[in-house]
Symmetry: C2
Subunit: 180 residues, 2 copies
DNA sequence: TGTACATCAGTGAACGCGCGTTCACTGATGTAC
DNA sequence: TGTACATCAGTGAACGCGCGTTCACTGATGTAC
């Protein structure tokens, strides 16, 4: 892909992430996006085929950023409990810093064009941590991985509502690893 | 509340649940709803203040039905593992039977007027099963309950995509109860 | 170096469409006397 | 039993609005010769 990373394209996506903090993703209009990016409405269609195409790009950028943050924190560790704990913490910390988290985690999944994209992203995460759950001796490592991803996303959303890291919730998440 | 249960109101909600199987909840239009229910467009506003009011009622009906199915299956049991397993199975089986599951579980959360309603429903479920997790000796029973609710909803969605009950996934869900 | 042409991001007015909502009206049913 | 009135679910044409999308155009930059 290599993201030609055109500055205007970047400005449009950046404006979208900022707006997604305040308005529902389904109500994120092209008018608001171009106003946020400071460009004309027609410019939007220079860089994106249509609104759905834009939303997919928005989600992909969000997901890629989070994924990089996780890898930076857990890449060099061998599969196992420590790597998984570090990955989960990196994910949650990145979600607390990132913009548009609620939009991407709670809203994107239900939108016409992006549902498939979100499912694929969750799938990718699940496969990323499957070796860890296998190393922990899980009888159903991939299934356990899917559930762990779902739980971690839920923690991210609850932390977002609270506006801060929720220690007992993270502890309950880590408790899961004793069981698999 | 006691739901005066007016037949036309019921027909409108029923049509919505049927339509939610096929179209995104955000794209569920008043036109389609009234067409599905076989009434005039104005009738919609006899029974609901506006579209958001209707969607809240739709979600509430879905949630109430599922909750009744769970209670019927697990009500007389004492808090503990068995009650929780039965409740989870009842929830998942009810989701496989119910209409509009994906809309309610994956889409409603992100919609402008209903997000709060969905959060409240999840909260209610979590408090319902908190005694079970306490009985199992969890160090963070309410937090563990929230995560269990999130996992179970995820299983429901994956089963819905698959179109059938997924045994290893349900097994991985139950494995969680060994850890808390 | 200068001229002619091609490319392409950016512009913004204009468009059509479908949406949620309104409202004056109908007709059946219930109530008063 | 009969008449007058009130109530209220239901009707559907009409409305305005905001949306996503288009398109003819501009102007700067790159390329050929």
């Amino acid at each position: 892909m290599a993201h030609s990373e055109h500055p205007t394209r970047h400005a449009l996506l950046d404006a979208g992430l900022g707006l997604a903090e305040r308005v529902a993703l389904s109500a994120l209009s092209v008018d608001e996006i171009v106003r946020g990016a400071g460009v004309a409405k027609g410019t939007f269609y220079v860089h994106f085929k249509d609104r759905a195409d834009y939303l997919v790009a928005l989600h992909r950028q969000f997901h890629d950023e989070i994924r990089l943050a996780i890898q930076a924190e857990s890449d060099e560790l061998p599969p196992g409990r420590e790597r998984l704990e570090r990955a989960a913490a990196a994910y949650l910390d990145a979600c607390l810093r990132a913009r548009g988290v609620k939009a991407m985690l709670a809203q994107a999944r239900g939108l016409p064009g992006i549902g498939h994209e979100v499912a694929a992203a969750n799938d990718r995460f699940a496969h990323d941590i499957e070796p860890d759950l296998r190393a922990l001796g899980s009888a159903h490592p991939l299934e356990a991985a899917r559930l762990f991803v779902a739980m971690t996303a839920e923690v991210a959303l609850l932390e977002l509502d609270a506006g801060e890291s929720l220690t007992p919730l993270r502890a309950a998440l880590i408790d899961y690893l004793a069981a698999v």
